[in-house]
Structures are given as structure tokens and as C-alpha cells.
């Protein structure tokens, strides 16, 4: 064992963050008794309010959140819709890491005003009834207000959104089914896909109803699966084995954890994440050669088409209807066979990135989209809660 570590120079000194962000409001809550009256999320909200007041800002100004446990729970509780989110937990140093990440995000133009907060009351918790224990776990509000009613998770939540989309825009079960059919057509070209036999609209409509209006074949698979990526600087990337796939744009937005808290059941936070990512990339949906849009359910993919701007709000059904999403179509979507037919181990977003990279490298064989230069990987988390969009491109697009 070495006695001490040698001082190490940073591998790459980049001053792009220097002076790019500033702390403008702070607050804390402490007491000489060692105990506070507030606890849990009420305490977090109180110091957020005080820090915003210190800065002369309001909740409306906040577009980024950091929390060491759940930035999504924080945002839902505060009723805000952040474009930057960070739940990194490195123990006691989490908040310095949050500032670092937030500064990078601000420097990169991902967001403008980030709030980070922490509250814990271990001393007063000792004499607090267990039922009122300080911090609700993310599941607790759901246990109290949603789970008793028998909504199947997650598919019931997506079914509610689908019902609303059908009601508002006349979207049909056949149109949703076409998404499953087009996606399966891609899967027939992927020898590693879970399902590779062609599907018809009738197959989807004849499959058992799960959560009306979603049939079993409107729903993603349950499979094993694993994926990984490696990201490095553009300079380094050019020295490596494979053609670089550049991150041209990125955007994120979330607004709820429980489906009852979704502001609009037919519009996801993808309208924000997509617009942000395209603006950063300097391109438009019409420039996209391959769309990898998280298809947990057919309705999920349909909402992405609208919210990312491939078609107008409400027109996702007719847009998908003509089969343009399948092989040979004008907008190849989910070319690996998607969560509907390729794989879905639970958090499928990784596979969107993997397939997008393979398409842009031209490695996809029978399912390769000719001349693919720009791909979008659009991840969807929880129940249409958090959308994150990556616009990826080849050397030619950089």
C-alpha cells in the first residue's frame, strides 16, 4: 500500500464553468434546542421559501432541483416542473456535488435557477410518532391516495392517459395498435428480439384487455436485460476505435410522480425536454433519421410523437396509422423492436441510447436505416413523469 497518494493533475483542465454560475440565495433552519418544529417536506419547503426570498426569487423562477434522495418527490411536492434534476447521493458531500452539477447545467444552458435542499430531524424524530415519521418515502403518498383504488401500476396510469387522448382527439384503439404492429415489424429484423413474428392490428385488438383501453399487446415486455454506455470528450472520441456519436442536444423535464398530479394527461414534459434538446442541437424533428422513443405502452410512443413535434398535438393517431414508423417508413421508430417487442427489463432508457448509437454507426444489419445521421433517444420515466431527450449525431452533423 502506498503511504500517500501523489498529487494528481487534472486529466483535462476545462475552465468552461469558471464564473458561469453563482449562489444567490441561502437559508438554514436550526435551533439551540437542537430540535425544530417542522420536519420532513414541510421543513424542506420552509428553507426553500427562505432561500428564494433571500435571492428575491419565487418558485416560478425555479427550473432545476437537487435533492439527495428524490428530486422528483421534491418537485411534485412543490408543484414545479424542472428542466434540470439531480438526485445524486454521495453522502455528506452530496450538496457540493449538486452545486457542481448545477453549475455545469447552468453553464450549458440547461436551466437557469436551481434549488437544492436538505432537511433531517433525527433528534426530534425520537419522540415523533412513527406514523408521522419525517420524510415520506416516495411511495407513501401513493399508498395513501392512489393504491387503495386498485389502479394497476404502471399500466393503469397509462390507460388513464390513453382514455383521455381518445376522448379529446378521437384516437382509436386501431391507431394505437398500429404502433405495436410497426414496432414488431422492426423486431422481425432483429434476431435478438424477444418477439420476432409479424403482428397484425387484429392480433393486438384480440389480445386480452389489460387496463382499458390498453390490450396486452399495447404493453411492453417483461424481460431480463442490461446495457451500458461510455461518454468522453469529442477530442478523445476521435482517437478511439469506433466512429464518435456526438451529443448534439439534451433536455429534461419532470412534473409529477402520481398520475393524479400530472398537469395534463395528454401532454408530457417531453414538450419541454424535446424543444430544449432540439434547440441545443440546432435541428428539428424533420432532421431526425431514427427516433428511439420509449415505448412502455403504445400510448407512450404516440405521446412522444406529438410532444417532440413530429406531428401536432392530437394527431399522433393518424400520424402512426399509415405505417410510417416501420421499416421503409418516413420516420423509423424503435428500430430494435422497442420495449414492445425487443426487451424491457424495467428501466428501458439505456437501450434507446444503445440502439441510437448503433444506427448512427451503421451497425444494425437488416434493420439499418440507410444514411442515418441524426437519432433521438427519448426516455420516459415513471408514469409519463420525467422525460429526457438526447439528440445524437454522426461526425457529419457536428
Amino acid at each position: 500500500m502506498p503511504e500517500h497518494r501523489d498529487a494528481v493533475a487534472p486529466a483535462r483542465v476545462d475552465r468552461s464553468l469558471r464564473g458561469a454560475a453563482a449562489l444567490v440565495g441561502v437559508a438554514d433552519a436550526v435551533s439551540p434546542t437542537g430540535e425544530l418544529d417542522r420536519h420532513g417536506q414541510a421543513l424542506e419547503a420552509a428553507v426553500v421559501r427562505d432561500a428564494l426570498a433571500d435571492a428575491g426569487l419565487t418558485l416560478d423562477d425555479v427550473d432545476g432541483v437537487c435533492h439527495a434522495t428524490s428530486s422528483m418527490q421534491l418537485a411534485e411536492y412543490l408543484g414545479i416542473h424542472p428542466r434540470f434534476t439531480d438526485s445524486t447521493n454521495t453522502g455528506g458531500s452530496s450538496f457540493e456535488v449538486h452545486v457542481e452539477h448545477a453549475a455545469a447545467a447552468i453553464a450549458a444552458g440547461l436551466c437557469e435557477v436551481v434549488v437544492g435542499v436538505y432537511a433531517a430531524t433525527p433528534r426530534s424524530d425520537r419522540h415523533r410518532p412513527a406514523a408521522a415519521f419525517p420524510r415520506r418515502s416516495p411511495a407513501d403518498a401513493m399508498l395513501e391516495w392512489e393504491l387503495p383504488y386498485g389502479l394497476r401500476q404502471p399500466m393503469g396510469a397509462y390507460a388513464l392517459a390513453a382514455s383521455r387522448h381518445m376522448h379529446e382527439f378521437g384516437t382509436t384503439a386501431e391507431q394505437l395498435a398500429q404502433i405495436a404492429v410497426s414496432t414488431r415489424a422492426w423486431a422481425t429484423r432483429n434476431e435478438r428480439a424477444r418477439y420476432q413474428t409479424p403482428l397484425t392490428i387484429d392480433d393486438v385488438l384480440d389480445s386480452p384487455m389489460e387496463s382499458t383501453p390498453l390490450h396486452r399487446l399495447d404493453c411492453c415486455l417483461v424481460t431480463d436485460g442490461a446495457g451500458a454506455f461510455v461518454l468522453t470528450s469529442a477530442e478523445r472520441a476521435r482517437t478511439l476505435a469506433k466512429p464518435p456519436v456526438y451529443v448534439l442536444g439534451a433536455g429534461t423535464c419532470h412534473d409529477h410522480l402520481m398520475i393524479s398530479q400530472m398537469p395534463d394527461l395528454t401532454t408530457t414534459p417531453g414538450v419541454v425536454s424535446g424543444a430544449t434538446a432540439f434547440a441545443m442541437a440546432g435541428c428539428a424533428p424533420s432532421d431526425v433519421d431514427v427516433l428511439m422513443g420509449y415505448d412502455s405502452f403504445t400510448i407512450t410512443a404516440l405521446l412522444h410523437l406529438e410532444d417532440l413535434g413530429f406531428c401536432a398535438k392530437g394527431e399522433g393517431g393518424p400520424f402512426a396509422e399509415d405505417g410510417r414508423l416501420g421499416p421503409g417508413g418516413s420516420l423509423p421508430m424503435n428500430t430494435n423492436g422497442g420495449g414492445l417487442s425487443y426487451t424491457h427489463p424495467g428501466m428501458y432508457g439505456m437501450f434507446l441510447i444503445v440502439e441510437a448509437v448503433r444506427q448512427l454507426r451503421g451497425e444494425c444489419g437488416a434493420r439499418q436505416v440507410d444514411g442515418a445521421e441524426v437519432a433521438v433517444a427519448h426516455g420516459s420515466g415513471m408514469v409519463l413523469s420525467c422525460m429526457s431527450t438526447l439528440v445524437l449525431g454522426t461526425e457529419a452533423t457536428r
Binding site: 417542522r38 420532513g40 417536506q41 414541510a42 419547503a45 420552509a46 426553500v48 421559501r49 428564494l52 418558485l59 411536492y77 412543490l78 408543484g79 414545479i80 410518532p129 406514523a131 408521522a132 415520506r136 407513501d140 403518498a141 399508498l143 395513501e144 391516495w145 392512489e146 393504491l147 387503495p148 383504488y149 386498485g150 389502479l151 394497476r152 401500476q153 393503469g156 390507460a159 388513464l160 392517459a161 390513453a162 382514455s163 383521455r164 376522448h167 386480452p208 384487455m209 389489460e210 387496463s211 382499458t212 383501453p213 390498453l214 402520481m258 398520475i259 393524479s260 398530479q261 394527461l265
Partner: protein, 137 residues
């Protein structure tokens, strides 16, 4: 007694008034005095203004179905006898949206836009779970 058994909701110090009122089959809605607006789910602070001046107000429990799904398999074992059953998002007239179920109605009668009124399903500890029934036309 009923032929089904639901997961029963936990409550917290904050939500105790809500659940206590259900013992008398009364629906309470949390209200922010600063924003003059209803808040759901109940919180210690208003998500609109971060204010702490919140109070509980009685609600007539009337609203409109905003979205609906019919579950063809039970989400919990105790609901198996109810399948197929409707789960809805209800917009209460106070301007809040909550998840619930519609009872005493065939699932195909539970459609978006239908008016509903709160009903009560007994829980094992004397509280009641707020559910909804189709309003009389």
C-alpha cells in the same frame, strides 16, 4: 359485509383530520388561504405559494370524471371479486383532481364527462375510503 378487501391507506399527522372526517362520511379538502385555492394531495405548504396558511374545508364531494380505465385483472388480491372495475380521475368542483373508483355502476357506464358524487366504503378501523358513485341524472 363486502366481498372485497382493499389495501387500507396509511395516514399521517398532517392528514389525520381528513381521515377522521371520513368516520362521519364527511369529505374535507385542503385549502390555501393565500391563493384561495384547493390543494391536493394534502401538504404542509401550498405548492402554489409555499405558504403555510392552509385549512380543511368541507366538500360536497361532487365532480366530473376526467379519465377512466377499467382494470381486467385485480391490482391487489382483495379486489379479485370486483374485476372488471373502473378506476377514475375525478375533477372535484373545487378544482382538484384525485384518483378514485366508481362503485355501484357497470364499468361501461363510467365514462369521461359523467357527473359523480362521493360515496363511502368502510375501512376496518372505522374510517371510510372516499369512492364515487354516478350522480343521479
Amino acid at each position: 359485509m363486502s366481498d372485497h378487501q382493499r389495501l387500507e391507506p396509511p395516514q399521517s399527522e398532517l392528514t389525520a383530520p381528513f381521515w377522521d372526517a371520513t368516520r362521519e362520511r364527511r369529505l374535507l379538502v385542503q385549502w390555501c388561504l393565500e391563493c384561495d385555492a384547493a390543494v391536493f394531495y394534502p401538504r404542509e405548504v401550498c405548492p402554489g405559494c409555499l405558504g403555510e396558511r392552509l385549512e380543511w374545508r368541507a366538500s360536497p364531494g361532487t365532480g366530473t370524471i376526467h379519465a377512466v380505465t377499467v382494470e381486467h385483472r385485480a391490482q391487489q388480491p382483495g379486489l379479485a371479486s370486483l374485476v372488471p372495475y373502473a378506476v377514475v380521475l375525478v375533477d372535484l368542483d373545487e378544482g382538484i383532481r384525485l384518483l378514485s373508483t366508481v362503485v355501484h355502476a357497470a364499468p361501461d357506464q363510467v365514462v369521461i364527462g359523467r357527473r359523480v358524487v362521493v360515496g363511502w366504503e368502510p375501512l376496518s378501523d372505522g374510517r371510510h375510503l372516499p369512492v364515487f358513485e354516478l350522480a343521479k341524472p
